[in-house]
Amino acid sequence: MEARDQAKRPITRLAGPYGHPLHPALVVVPIGAWVASLVFDVASHLARSPGFLVEGSRWLIGIGVVGALVAAMIGFLDLLAIPTGTRAFRVALLHMSLNLAATATYAVSVAIREAPLDRPVAIGPLILSAAALAMVGVAGILGGQLVFRYGVRVADEFTQAEGYHTTTAKENA
């Protein structure tokens, strides 16, 4: 099997069937939760009673961390589909490392948040969250490169062509 074709095929159906990988679907959970948590952090400095925003942000970071670990589990299966020693594999390793570092940074950000809920989120954890989100952003660009440039877990062109077959009036009849 050609190296490029190997990266298109799942190593197990757990990672989603051919042409329909699970990892990109799962990553929306941590991305959404973490973006919302940063919005909550900033909003806690603007709202008159910030308690619900401070607590909500903690929950969102927690949901994001758990979602990221589940997405990482499936993403790891896709990493193993890429032949080692290739540029695509190196990009995938960097993508994984950045996301794991971001997840760890979020864990630290939530751990150092103090108990009182009546004050806005402190600057320290807020900066940590912003830095972690930036890491997720860079990792996302690399993830996009893996899919849209190197075609990892994307169906081959023959399969793609099925979606562009136009049916004639005769075939419809």
Binding site: I11, T12, L14, G62, V65, V66, L69, V70, M73, F76, L80, A81, T84, V110
Partner: protein, 130 residues
Amino acid sequence: MATAALVTWLLTATAGFIMLGQWVSRGGHRPGSGSRLSPGLVFSHFPLAAIGLVLWIIYVIQPSDTLAWIAFVVLLPVALLGFTMFARWLPTVRAGTGTPESRFPIAIVIGHGLLAATTLVLVLLTALSA
């Protein structure tokens, strides 16, 4: 104790990732690879162990008696599948069969097993003392 279990669990997972990576890179997951570890075994052990680890991380963040016991119960089939794979792996090392798993570093296999057993005991002790 919960944190100690998290550390041993993470180390166990690292050793498991190394073996999974080697097994896949040598084509163990493909039909006709000659591997004595069936994909069904490997891909049941891996997600169950990973789900257990995620549950344990949630437990460390937000302790709950029920969650500790659920994590322990999830670990039981993981351990059973692990033992089954270990039993199927042993003869391949002795015979030097050249199957995808026969060249797993012995230290990684033994380390994975010992760390996994330690994790199971620590999780049980945490659940009992909760």
